[in-house]
Subunit: 157 residues, 3 copies
């Protein structure tokens, strides 16, 4: 158990087995000191909770949106851990999160929703978890998920 | 003819002359070992096929969306080739594709559409073509294109 | 005053005090020679002009959209300047802008709007301001802003 695993355990979080990609792409690519992780959806135990599907401002409450964003972040950590041979302590910095919120045309409380993902990164990595971030509301997401989040990490090779 | 050009020729693909950007930006920027390529639209021979314009889930079939995504990928390769002095063998890895699908609010088969781009990268580069990927459905794209794809490559300088 | 500050002054531009992030993230992260800046909104003097809020193709004219994109670019420079200890001359290259336009489903003059941001980068940095760019129309943006722009710069550490 590394330091980051300990932090996550203290926050009551278990990193799940990462989801396999469903097409001709991979969950993460390491290039130089950057780990680029594919957009992750709000799956939990391989399933989508209906409460985490649909549009913010229409079907999904802000609280459920935040929970969905948090799940995306957990899945990003799962993919990063797998790409780093199981050692999240090799993460030096969360560089960037890109947050995509499935939004009704008039829903603009997007940052609050995305905080579900950002807060988890800071819970896991402390100050090294503070990242640059872009949050936008999109017309749709794969499988009608409420949230998708992608990430870039700086890592020790 | 390099190895990648051969792969593309075997797949029946000719890399077109890259499109000139229409404003104060450039098709691609090389920084360190990263080549960042601007979002490419589904132009073919300088024109947009009406079958590749409009929204998935409304005007555009999944098959036409896949063809549009493939064209975006071809145009990414054209820009990469131009930025690499004509030598696609300098690509070490396709690091990331970002796929934006012009989507009706209820269309969520976005990954299938994006596979048109991902499959082409693997046809061209083999395992080095397997990339991290983010796919989202957007409200609109330039010129009402059905698909836009951006890319990041790791290259030999 | 550096060279870039002079360029901006000649263009009649004063770089504002950067906005503080409103959640668990930071305005910019430096990793290697890359400076990754969070998506910036079209704030001016800490406020949003109602003319810069709403959707292109519905509430916001192309001219106001361009002005909003320009403000996002100014705010990106403010964040970059703060992250570089006040010295924009440390920017070697604007690598990439990602432009998100709050769009009605049928508005596709997105590149014209985004030019407001791109033109400012070239006014500031000359040829080093020419960047790779991706522009998409999204369903919503934080606080109903008309435009959000993110950036990646290559910098001298």
């Amino acid at each position: 158990m590394g330091v980051i695993d300990d932090n996550l355990a203290r926050a009551g979080l278990v990193i799940p087995t990462p989801a396999a990609p469903v097409a001709n792409y991979v969950p993460a690519v390491l290039t130089g000191s950057l780990l680029v992780v594919s957009g992750q959806l709000c799956f939990q135990d391989g399933k989508l909770d209906p409460a985490h599907c649909g549009k913010l401002g229409e079907d999904v409450s802000i609280e459920n949106g935040q929970a969905a964003a948090r799940l995306c972040a957990v899945n990003l950590l799962a993919q990063a851990k797998a790409a780093l041979d199981g050692d999240l302590d090799r993460v030096k910095r969360v560089v960037r999160l890109g947050g995509f919120i499935n939004s009704a045309p008039d829903f603009n409380a997007l940052p609050q929703v995305m905080n579900g993902a950002s807060d988890l990164m800071v819970a896991a990595f402390g100050d090294a978890g503070r990242h640059a971030r872009t949050t936008v509301g999109v017309a749709q997401l794969p499988m009608d998920c409420a949230v998708e989040v992608e990430a870039m990490f700086e890592v020790v090779r």
